[in-house]
Structure formats: structure tokens, C-alpha cells
């Protein structure tokens, strides 16, 4: 399988702000590729460039062999987009939304009706197809957007924060539909998210922070970077516990609200050793495998969920939001 997306030294600046900072990566045809990072990291900006909604300041990007700056119409035929914010015509019905999309993208009249029925059934909206979108729930709207996204047989489906604002149950349902679509259509999924559990769906993940890719690998390999498993002890006497762990195993443990914690290569085998002869009183012991949260923390030095924690992060996010809504990217 070939490369469906190739990005080389991509840069996007909004005034002084470098939203995307010399980013390079490749996406294989048929894979699920994830961009993981906090809000304002440059995920949406990168997607906007790949979707021809913005021009890069410098660098090169191709999709399906087409240049994103020079071959906009070919790119637009090759992609489907599920935007972060809703983008349906809520005055029209589900099927009308799809009809307009199919027509605009030149889906031949002979297959149009059949294709619309197919995608509506695939996302479970066939029964409500003639209802006005205004009456759809959040999850139904998202599913309709997904159906619309792959209606015209695109090569790549972009999903910008596909489960933002949805409750966990709906999130799982959406992903059921999405994975089903991918299996049936063999389409490449390009996903951005700041939900860790969502990112693990991807075959490969690029972790992006302050406009730079800080790591790119499979979720398993990324987790291995953190080291081993994390053991947490709840104890009444933190100092003594830390000292004892240090004396017996030569491990420097840390502590936070949850208790004393440290990393070992193989937690399951380590636990019996630990408890067999431990002097300090322990209330509970837990073992946790590393998550992408830990990977992110290790690589960037901050947690993903304090998105706008720092002042710079906050300013970054604002600057990019306004730049996007102004649509300033297109004019220069």
C-alpha cells in the first residue's frame, strides 16, 4: 500500500504565532492515523491545510498524489470532512442534506439514490431520513455528517474531534459506525482528538504540541516509551514508604494525591515481591499500565487535559480561533 498523504516541512503562521511548526509525516493508504494533542496544538490548522481551506505559509503537502495548494478541486474530490463544529443544513432533512452533497460532488445520477440509502443505513439513520435535521440529537447529527463525509467515495475521511461534546455512550456508538465504514469502504481515516481513549483506535498516532510533532508511532510503541507499568500505593506514611522502596529496590518513587507511585518494567511480577516483605503500612496497591496520558506527560512535560493551563497556551488557542473564523488563511 502506498502513501496517501505526504507532508513535508509544513509551516503555518498567523502573524507572529506559529500554529504549525515544520511538521512532516506520511499516512499510509487504508490506515487510521491520529493527531493527538491539546486544543490549540495545531491539529485543526493542519487539517484545514490538507482540506484546502487554508494555504500553508511554507512547506509541501500532497494527498492522493495531488498538491493541496495547486490542485484544490482534485483534493476536494478525494476527501470527506467531518468538521469539529456542526456543518449541516438543519432546515433540511437528512436525505436532502445528502442529496445536495452527492450532487455537488458529482456522484452519478445512476447510483446517487442507492448510495444515499447505503450510507444512511450504514450509520443507522435510514428510518429518520425524512426528518428535519433540527430534530436530530447530537449523536444523530454527527452520524449524518459522517455519512455525508464518505458519501462521494473519498480516499481519505478527515475527522476533526469527531466525538467532541458527545456523551461516552454516543462516542462508542459513533466509533462502531466509523470502524464499520472503514471496513466496508477501505477508506483512510485521519483523526484529530484530545481524548486518549479515542486516539488508541488509531494504527499510528502523531503527538502534537505547540505546533510540533513530538512523537509518531503505534499506540503500543508510544506506551513502551514511557517505560513500564505504574504501581501506586496508598499509605498513611508517605516518606517512610518512599524510603523503603528506595532501600529495597533502588527505585525513586514519587507521590501525589493518589499516593506513592513508581514505574517498573513488569508490574504483575513485581507486585508479589513488593508486598511479601513490606514494612510500612499499606492501605491499597494498584497496578496501572501506561496510557497515552502518561506518554503525553512524559513527552511534553504537561498534561493534555490542562489544555489552556498556561498563559501561552491560552493565547495560542485564542489567536488560532480568531484567525480561523476570520478565514484569514485564504487571502494570503
Amino acid at each position: 500500500m502506498g502513501k496517501i498523504i505526504e507532508v513535508e516541512h509544513l509551516v503555518k503562521k498567523f502573524g507572529d504565532l506559529v500554529a504549525v511548526d515544520d511538521v512532516s509525516f506520511e499516512v499510509e493508504e487504508g490506515e487510521i492515523f491520529g493527531f493527538l494533542g491539546p486544543n490549540g496544538a495545531g491539529k485543526t490548522t493542519t487539517i484545514n491545510i490538507l482540506c484546502t481551506l487554508m494555504k500553508p505559509t511554507s512547506g509541501r503537502a500532497t494527498l492522493n498524489g495531488f498538491n493541496v495548494v495547486r490542485q484544490q478541486n482534485q483534493i476536494r474530490h478525494s476527501i470527506g470532512v467531518v468538521f469539529q463544529d456542526p456543518s449541516l443544513d438543519i432546515v433540511l432533512t437528512g436525505v436532502q442534506n445528502l442529496y445536495i452533497h452527492a450532487y455537488a460532488y458529482g456522484v452519478p445520477a445512476s447510483v446517487r439514490k442507492q448510495r444515499i440509502e447505503e450510507v444512511l443505513r450504514l450509520v443507522g439513520l435510514w428510518d429518520v431520513r425524512n426528518k428535519t435535521v433540527r430534530d436530530y440529537s447530537g449523536g444523530m447529527r454527527r452520524r449524518l455528517e459522517i455519512a455525508r463525509g464518505f458519501l462521494h467515495f473519498p480516499k481519505v475521511l478527515f475527522l476533526d474531534e469527531p466525538s467532541l461534546g458527545l456523551d461516552p455512550q454516543t462516542r462508542y456508538a459513533i466509533w462502531d459506525y466509523l470502524l464499520n465504514v472503514r471496513k466496508r469502504e477501505g477508506i483512510t481515516l485521519f483523526l484529530t482528538t484530545h481524548y486518549m481513549d479515542e486516539a488508541t483506535v488509531a494504527h499510528r498516532i502523531a503527538i502534537i504540541d505547540y505546533g510540533k510533532i513530538v512523537a509518531l508511532d503505534t499506540p503500543e510503541a508510544l506506551k513502551r516509551m514511557v517505560g513500564g507499568d505504574i504501581i501506586t500505593l496508598k499509605t498513611g506514611n508517605i516518606d517512610v514508604a518512599i524510603a523503603e522502596i528506595h532501600d529495597r529496590f533502588g527505585i525513586d518513587a514519587q507521590w501525589d494525591r493518589e499516593g506513592v507511585f513508581f514505574e517498573v518494567p513488569n508490574g504483575e511480577e513485581f507486585m508479589p515481591l513488593l508486598v511479601s516483605n513490606f514494612k510500612t503500612e499499606v492501605h491499597s496497591i494498584s497496578l496501572r499500565r501506561p496510557t497515552l496520558d502518561d506518554v503525553f506527560l512524559k513527552l511534553t512535560g504537561h498534561e493534555i487535559r490542562d489544555e489552556a493551563g498556561g498563559d501561552t497556551a491560552m493565547r495560542r488557542q485564542w489567536a488560532m480561533r480568531t484567525a480561523r473564523s476570520r478565514g484569514g488563511g485564504m487571502s494570503h
Binding site: R76, S87, D89, V91, H101, Y103
Partner: protein, 266 residues
Amino acid sequence: MRELRGLYIIWYRDLLRFWRNTGRLLSSFIMPLLFLVIFGSGIASSMTGLMGGGGNFNYIEFMFPGIIGMVVLMAAIMSGVSIVWDREFGFLKEVMVAPMSRTTVAIGRTLGGATIATIQGVLMLVFIPFVHISVSIGQVLLILPLMFIMAFALTAMGILIASRIKSMETFQVIMQLLLFPMIFISPAMFPTEFLPSWLNGAVKINPVSYAIDSLRQALTTPPPGMPGFGMSLFGHPMSIAEDIAIVALFALIMVSLAVWSFGRQE
């Protein structure tokens, strides 16, 4: 071919939205009905007296083409709202990644808005029996292109403004600021002959004046010897063709600006 397809679907969507919105359809009747009732019964008698009385001047007959023009004007400018609306509800993004040029989008929307405004203008013809004027099929066929060109010009203007504006509130304010002068500083409601010259100058700058004058000429016959019934420019009384040429020129300027602004902005 691709652009033609885009043009059609953008136009089609506008019409589909219009048909699905019965409220918009109904409300387009209310304002002109009020005008016809209030002005028609209340002001008509005094206006007729002012105009020299006699059986020559029928104010309702005079006003009716003005009402049609007003309906077309409001409907056309309001289609700019749908652009602002699309931006707020995000549908504009879907349009922006579709494989068609910005020019196609802007022209398609202008055509859609102009079609809707023309339909609303045509619907006003149901009032004909109530205003006691006789209108032939030929006259109806004549005002169709007149209404459409007027609607096209004003829709393009609405889209031009909407492409520069981000919030619904701002758009509403600007529309109000434009709408009322364009209606009332025109011969829509009264003959402009008796206006002070500075105001008459404003009437002549207002392109809506010529659009309404063309409708009036197409639908009614001026009573003999009545001054100020029709528009004139530099002392030259305007014909329908001359009126609509001015409106068409205005349409061309507006749609060019709208296309330029839309392409640049998004």
C-alpha cells in the same frame, strides 16, 4: 460542467429551504397587506386630493407597483441573511470544501435569492383584484424579467454585505439602515415630483427608484397630464428599457463586487 452543477445545486438548496419555510412565505404577505390596507384606505383619499383630485389619479394604482418593488427588495436583501446564517450554523464550511469555485458559490446564491424574491413578487399579484386594476398576461410576462433583474441586483448587494459581516446582529442593523432609505427615498409610495430638490437628487441616485419606475410603467398607464408620475433623469423621462438598463448596470457592479468579496473572504 462541474461549475454548472455547483451553480444548480446552490440555487436548488436556496429554493428548497424557501419551500420548507412556510413561515417565510406567509410573512411575505403580511407587510404588503398592511401597506395596502393602511395606505390604501387611509392615505389614498388625501393623496388623491393632493394630486389635483378629480378621477385622474388613483393612489392605490400608483402605489401597487411600489409595493411589489418593496417586497422584492426586502426578499432579495434578506437572502444575504442566509449567508450569515450559514456561517453561524457551519454549513458554509461544507460549501467551502465542496469541489466548486467561490465564484460559482456566490453567483449560485445570488441566482437563488433572486429567484425567491421574484417568486415573492409574483405572489403579490394575488392582490390585483383588491386594488381594482386590470393587468394583462402580457404585462405579467413583462414584469417578470424586470423583477428578476431588480432582485438579482439587490441579492448581490445583500451577499456583498453579508460576506463582510460575521454576526447576525450587525447584519440586521445594516439592513435596516439600508432598507428603509432605499424604499422611502424612491417613488415607491409617493410621486417624487414634489420632494425638495436635495431629496429628489437622492431619489435619482437610488437604483431602486428606476426598478420601481419600470414596474410602474409596465403595470399602469399614467393619467394624462399628471406631472411627476414617472422618473426622469436630467429632464429626460425614462422608458422601461432605460430604467432597467440602469438597474442591470447596478446588478453587474454588485455581483462583481459580491464575487470578489466572497472569493477573497472565505
